[in-house]
């Protein structure tokens, strides 16, 4: 079933257009950075961007930091929001259920397909970022500097980049789960995607608000930037672990809601 979902997803031109558009922004940023040589001021701009000027091999991380706050979640919300509602809108959902595909299996397969999409997207962004980084900037691929000022070997850097890619992927689980959950409530993919984005915008807004600090640790976007913590030395696991657990909780709760709704729902589309 998961193979079928992946075939459906990746045979779709729209999927690849999304990934291509997602890569556009880091490339634009890189070109502008090269043309102007203006590094963001400390504390401003995406993480790792100032470091790229001295070592282009770090651009994959900057590219991730660039797409992480908005572009990536939008893409995930659109793809995940489409997963069930899109089938309903096209009318293919009734044929899947009558095929029969178990409703629970369908939900899980959809979520897994979205996560594979996220992973592929993140890896593509990282690889394109690396190629852009070493072409446009001076690169010292031999080693890298950690955020804490220590020197990381190429192997360490690779492993940590791998961790970061994995973490960013997991960070998108919450968005995916929200969109998937909404997707079972509506026959409109757009409504589901917008619903998930509304949650994200609300979460990002609340995160900046002092009055919301009691609920801040539970906001789905709270620990997104913790992927930076992989590049501290030693790795700062606190927020990473919390981020993973939080996404896990969101996935379990929202998938539970989606499951409860979807398995008892009349498919009338």
């Amino acid at each position: 079933m998961i193979v079928v979902e992946l075939r459906k997803l990746f045979r779709r031109p729209r999927t690849w257009v999304t990934i291509a558009v997602l890569n556009l922004l880091p490339i634009i940023v890189a070109v502008l950075l090269v043309l102007t040589d203006l590094a963001p001021r400390p504390g401003q701009g995406p993480a790792f961007l100032s470091a790229v000027l001295t070592n282009g091999a770090l651009f994959p991380l900057a590219a991730l930091a660039i797409v992480l706050p908005l572009f990536l979640p939008i893409a995930v919300a659109v793809i995940a929001g489409d997963s069930v509602a899109g089938e309903a809108q096209a009318g293919t959902l009734r044929y899947l259920i009558a095929r029969p595909v178990g409703r629970t299996r369908l939900l899980v397969a959809k979520l897994l397909a979205v996560l594979v999409f996220v992973l592929v997207t993140v890896v593509v962004v990282a690889v394109v970022g690396y190629l852009v980084g070493v072409t446009l900037f001076e690169a010292e691929p031999a080693a890298g500097t950690s955020v804490s000022g220590t020197t990381l070997t190429v192997q360490e850097l690779l492993v940590r980049t791998g961790y970061a890619v994995g973490y960013v992927t997991v960070s998108m689980c919450g968005v995916a789960a929200f969109a998937l959950c909404f997707s079972t409530f509506t026959d409109s993919p757009l409504a589901a995607a917008l619903g998930a984005l509304a949650v994200l915008v609300a979460s990002s807004l609340l995160f900046t608000l002092d009055a919301a600090s009691p609920i801040a640790p539970y906001l789905p976007t709270r620990y997104w930037l913790a992927f930076v913590d992989f590049f501290r030395d030693p790795i700062l696991w606190r927020d990473i672990v919390r981020g993973l657990a939080l996404q896990g909780v969101y996935v379990v709760v929202l998938l539970g809601v989606a499951w409860a709704n979807f398995t008892t729902k009349d498919v009338t589309s």
Binding site: Y95, I97, A98, R99, P100, T268
Partner: protein
């Protein structure tokens, strides 16, 4: 009726949406070897019933049994043996017909991967799409999509076909082709549950008929029984007055040159009229048409909206 295996049985099936009862306590009885014509006006609850048979819509009350298993619980064992066309075909527009069938086959149980390519070729041939190329379904005509939908239903050689308006969007030749195909499948043992609002389609194909009216099953019988001779004879004569005199009170109705006469044997009526010198231009055993039967059983059209108090009595 001989005791054949029950294929679809429902008992007191009810589906309520809010306060309206879309399906109101129906007891379907479809048996192996039937071509069951499920007839009803638009909005009479046909589609909801079909969806309940396939486990898409969950009944509010009552039971559904398909191929001996309770639905929707038994769907995993039963549905691979059922082919369905529900309210028109639906496909991923960016993929070709073959790919769509392949994905549909791969997504559920009962579709062996080894034979998939051959089975897809066979069913495409069967529905008249054997020469279809790699263009995406988006570019198909309505009739081609309908044929592809039917191909999807036939992919696993199902014992039961549940078809909702299968000839929708087809031209007259297409309709005839599909009818022949379904009759051929029926001949080799497939039970066909055919839901339609077209009387003619049901009359031409069904062996058994169920009539749904405003959520209630008002009629369920063998077509042969419904259209059995009524014990009357239809006489056509240019001189109805003379005929009426000869037949003396046995004339039930008179409609121009056409008389309905109480007589099981047309030959006897003919002999008397000819003996009396009344010219007879036509003579036939009287059978009711399906239309007459349905109109007698069903109330007014479901999409009429009457003012309160003027509605037809139920």
């Amino acid at each position: 009726m001989t005791e054949r295996d029950a294929v679809i049985t429902t008992r007191g099936l009810v589906k309520r949406y809010g306060r309206t009862r879309a399906v109101d306590g129906i007891d379907l009885d479809v048996r192996s070897g039937d071509v069951y014509g499920f007839l009803g006006a638009n909005g009479s609850g046909k589609t909801t019933t079909v969806r309940m048979l396939l486990g898409l819509v969950l009944p509010t009350q009552g039971e559904v049994e398909v191929l001996g298993r309770r639905m929707p619980r038994g769907g995993r064992e039963v549905l691979p043996r059922v082919g369905a066309l529900i309210e028109g075909p639906a496909f991923a527009g960016h993929l070709s017909g073959r790919e769509n069938l392949s994905l549909l086959d791969a997504s559920g149980p009962g579709g062996t991967r080894r034979t998939r390519r051959r089975r897809i070729g066979d069913v495409l041939e069967q529905v008249g799409l054997g020469g279809v190329d790699r263009r995406p379904v988006r570019a198909y005509s309505l009739g081609m999509r309908q044929r592809l939908g039917l191909a999807g239903a036939l992919l696993r050689r199902p014992e039961l076909l549940v078809l909702d308006e299968p000839t929708n969007g087809l031209d007259p030749q297409g309709i005839a082709e599909i009818r022949d195909l379904l009759l051929e499948l029926h001949r080799v043992g497939t039970t066909v549950f055919l839901s339609s609002h077209l009387l003619a389609e049901i009359e031409q194909m069904a062996t058994r008929v169920g009539v749904l009216d405003r959520g209630r099953l008002v009629l369920q019988e063998e077509l042969a029984v419904l259209t059995a001779p009524t014990g009357a004879t239809v006489v056509t004569t240019p001189d109805p007055a003379a005929a009426r005199a000869v037949l003396d009170g046995r004339v039930l109705t008179e409609d121009g040159h056409r008389l309905l006469v109480t007589a099981a044997d047309p030959a006897e009526v003919n002999a008397r009229l000819v003996a009396a010198g009344v010219p007879v231009t036509g003579l036939a055993v009287h059978r009711p048409t399906l239309e007459e039967v349905v109109l007698a059983a069903a109330s007014t059209s479901a999409d009429r909206v009457e003012r309160p108090g003027q509605g037809a009595p139920r």
